[in-house]
Symmetry: C2
Subunit: 243 residues, 2 copies
């Protein structure tokens, strides 16, 4: 699995014959441009995010998992947002030095280059409205994350993370909710403002409490989503499961 691309979602409203998954911006490309521009990245591959190109060239995640990352002053990485299959990488995201779009696993992107049509599109209210809508969504998501990093402790962050990812990327599998996250503990730490050892410890506690079951370090089943949500909201740990 690791060397090959993960499965792709079904075709969507995107005119690129399903090549771009749910890219709200594809429809503004003229028919001649409506062909997929797939970009395959392997884990760790980074695409620089320049402020200029960010408004003319967009990426939709077709499969895999991509992260918009920033560098702290001391060089450490902070993941600003995660985008799974079917999501558009937030337009208006900050670009510049230190910022990049990074693949966390084997990832296929659909590149939407609207630069040749920038002049025309800038006068298309529907296009700019779509742009604003996406930026607005991104703002709402990152605001939620700011609250998480500013006001939640470790257990709450990890629980909230699992809930969020389960909702966005999980899929039912024999009655249980299965979640395959192509992320290392370090990736999670960089997303949550913790360090990898702490993430590992907290995932261990969540496992021992019987809230999740690990099939591998990156694949798990959510056993008690309710308790997880409670924990995310500052609730207490449930008693450890007997088994």
């Amino acid at each position: 699995m690791p060397r090959s691309l993960p499965p792709e979602p079904p075709a969507s409203a995107c005119p690129h014959a399903g090549a771009c998954a749910g890219a709200a911006l594809c429809r503004f490309a003229p028919p001649a441009e409506q062909v997929p521009h797939p970009v395959d990245l392997e884990r760790g591959a980074r695409l620089p995010l320049a402020p200029v190109t960010g408004r003319r060239c967009f990426h939709a995640v077709r499969s895999g998992l991509a992260a918009v990352t920033a560098a702290a002053p001391d060089g450490r990485r902070q993941i600003l947002c995660l985008n799974g299959a079917g999501e558009l990488v937030c337009p208006g995201a900050p670009g510049g030095p230190g910022h990049a779009l990074e693949a966390l696993g084997p990832t296929r992107l659909c590149r939407i280059d609207l630069a040749p049509h920038a002049a025309r599109l800038a006068r298309d209210p529907a296009f700019v409205e779509a742009l604003f809508h996406e930026a607005s969504e991104g703002l709402a998501r990152i605001s939620e994350r700011l609250v998480t990093l500013g006001r939640r402790d470790g257990p709450s962050r990890v629980a909230a993370f699992l809930c969020e990812m389960a909702e966005r990327l999980g899929h039912a599998e024999g009655g249980a909710l299965r979640l395959a996250l192509p992320m290392t503990r370090e990736d999670m730490a960089d997303y949550l403002g913790l360090n990898p050892e702490t993430v590992s410890r907290l995932l261990g506690r969540v496992r021992k409490a019987g809230l999740v079951r690990f099939l591998s370090p990156t694949s798990m089943e959510i056993l008690d989503a309710r308790a997880l949500a409670d924990l995310a909201d500052g609730g207490a740990w449930p008693a450890a499961a007997p088994a």
Copy 2:
């Protein structure tokens, strides 16, 4: 001073005869609407931020200091962004329960209600572009803050905060850079993801190191902006000043 409004900046490009300070959106209001809609708030006053109104009704800060706040699951407050005189409260900011625009001191806002013209403006690319531009700016600022909360320790957060506010709200005064912040330690703590006692301690350390001088708890002079910037970027503390 506390009961009266702080001084206002000079008139800007805003057509409201300088009533709105630098509001990029004012110019889209028809002439009949180009009269000030001042809203005076005293410290602690909160305006609910609904997702719907957020796109039709905007606020520019004419004087004072306003904060977009969110509530953590446990009820604690997290300040998402600060807006001083001359700044437009970020459009596209998330609304909904727990979110509000709160005055941190006596504050006068200029309310820009474009709801009656929403239909027309939605078809004006220049308007939507201005909206996207503002949302994009907000996204860049909040991303920077996410890095701060996720990857900076207390001293670095406080130093970065002082640098940021000095740049945005400070004014030269007899060779020194003076900064009057209408914020309590608790406000700063809610902005920085710390608690008030920690903020107080860290400000004390910054003071003892000779980087700032306090004229009152909310008014200070930046004595060594360079050392402050170094500290914000993870540098070491300079030796304590003799005096």
